[in-house]
């Protein structure tokens, strides 16, 4: 695992107006790593993810991905051009909290649109590939349905497949289960776990501490725009070095415990 990193980010900075959201982030991700990114809301973790495929243009810092290196400094010679950004995005898939499927296209049309228009794949090949992917997630018979006729969990799995159809080298997941009803979270997480098992490189911004612990190979804790902790999930989650992470975990886990425990009837005194 000593190969060169798939993506190498140095001193990434991003401000919205006077508010600095990312205060110099440096992260390397190697191929096959599954990185869970956790942190309180407002800690910058989503902005970090959106800077990687430059949906947000960082204000400073560099990023090396494959054979290209970008320098985001204003006026820098290697600032990405529109064309380079499109090329970058064909190699980085992204899945959003609110699915963002295109409502006027069927499931199949959603999946084949970018491969045909952006990668110039022949239509027949794109369809064959899309149908294989949809069969894998058990939604083959829904291929002619419109997104509005699917459950949230199904829509999110289609959104994942739509990104996979571009055969990306890296997948970004931005709180992809946060908008789902609790009973639909599992189907999306298990698809992500299956992807991880196949060796897909993934950056996963999540509140699902269970997913971070069980599936990810590395956990990064964001706190007020900096990487506060970075290491194997068992170490970072079980044995947090900082008070901030300890407090954060306590808060997050407490919420989950409360949810899990709620339906269980209280035991009467003297039992057990």
């Amino acid at each position: 695992m000593d190969a060169a990193p798939l993506i190498s980010i140095r001193d990434l900075r991003k401000s919205f107006g006077a508010h600095e959201v990312l205060k110099g982030i440096s992260v390397d991700v190697r191929a096959g790593e599954v990185v869970s990114v956790i942190g309180a809301s407002g800690s910058g973790k989503s902005t970090f993810l959106r800077c990687i495929n430059v949906l947000e243009m960082p204000n400073a810092g560099t990023m090396a991905f494959g054979d290209v290196t970008f320098d985001f400094e204003e006026g820098a010679r290697r600032r990405p051009t529109a064309r380079q950004l499109r090329e970058l995005r064909t190699r980085i898939g992204m899945v959003f909290q609110s699915y963002n499927l295109w409502p006027h296209m069927t499931v199949l049309e959603n999946v084949i649109e970018a491969p045909i228009r952006v990668k110039r794949q022949p239509r027949a090949a794109a369809i064959a590939n899309a149908e294989a992917l949809l069969a894998r997630i058990g939604l083959a018979e829904k291929r002619h349905a419109y997104p509005s006729h699917l459950s949230g969990g199904q829509q999110q799995r289609v959104a994942i497949v739509r990104a996979l159809a571009m055969q990306p080298k890296l997948m970004l997941f931005d709180e992809v289960t946060s908008a789902l009803d609790p009973e639909l979270v599992g189907e999306v997480l298990s698809l992500m776990a299956a992807l991880a098992a196949e060796g897909m490189t993934m950056l996963v911004v999540t509140h699902e501490i269970g997913f971070a612990r069980e599936v990810s190979t590395r956990t990064i804790f964001f706190d007020e725009g900096v990487v506060a902790e970075d290491g194997p999930p068992r170490e970072v989650l079980r044995d947090p070095r900082s008070d901030r992470l300890r407090q954060f975990l306590k808060r997050v886990l407490h919420e989950h415990v409360a949810e899990d425990v709620a339906p269980v009837p209280l035991r009467t005194a003297g039992e057990a």
């Binding site: 963002n100 499927l101 952006v118 990668k119 509005s148 959104a159 990104a163």
Partner: protein
């Protein structure tokens, strides 16, 4: 009066009504084309990075919506010649109605664009699509479906507004029926007949729009 006698009085004017109706149709189509050009330019200008464009667009929409259509027609036909810009009644009419409709189209298009969630743009960009591809394949088809009902209303308004051009000597349906009535002294029959012709045209238009709406609404 028997039906036969009534028809005898009416029949000589049928060709005239038909050609006047055709003129209404032609003026409406041309004015709608002009209004879409003005409307799209104004909608783009209103979301421009340059303040001057935004202000010009805001002024245009403010002026058009705040003044009577008839006065706008008079300004173009009677007012502009004073500045050396002389036009035939037909051209003046098409332009005046087009400018007028453009302000409303601009607002409709802007509202339609802002109704599309930002995530639609982002998920498309994240797949490497170009701005043009995102607009033409993802955003505009959705906008079109949203704005179809108000755009239909606008087309119907345009068709009815052509009657205002009777005041600047365009012999469309309204002015034609007025001239007949001046010689036949039968305002009731001829104004009813004129109303029915407008009604037929607007009904065909809204039926057509309803069919389109059903076609594009299939994914909802």
């Amino acid at each position: 009066m028997t039906i036969a006698a009534w028809w005898e009085g009416f029949a000589p004017y049928v060709p005239g009504f038909l050609s006047a109706s055709w003129l209404v149709f032609v003026i409406s189509v041309l004015a709608i084309v002009v209004s879409w050009i003005c409307g799209l330019v104004a909608a783009l200008a209103k979301s421009s990075r340059f303040a001057a464009f935004r202000q010009a667009s805001a002024f245009y929409i403010w002026f058009i919506r705040g003044t009577p259509t008839l006065i706008q027609i008079f300004i173009v036909y009677f007012g502009l010649p004073q500045l050396g810009l002389r036009m035939s009644p037909f051209v003046a009419g098409v332009l005046a109605l087009g400018f007028n409709g453009g302000a409303y189209i601009a607002e409709i298009v802007r509202a339609g664009l802002s109704a599309i969630p930002k995530g639609q743009m982002e998920s498309s960009a994240a797949l490497g699509m170009s701005r043009f591809q995102i607009m033409s394949r993802i955003i505009l088809p959705q906008v079109f479906r949203i704005i179809l009902p108000p755009v239909t209303n606008e087309a119907i308004t345009m068709l009815k507004n052509t009657s205002l051009l009777s005041t600047i000597t365009v012999v469309e349906l309204t002015l034609y029926s007025q001239t007949i009535i001046a010689t036949t002294f039968r305002p009731f029959e001829f104004y009813i007949a004129t109303a029915v012709i407008y009604l037929v045209m607007t009904t065909v238009l809204s039926q057509f729009a309803m069919r389109l709406e059903r076609h594009y609404g299939r994914y909802a």
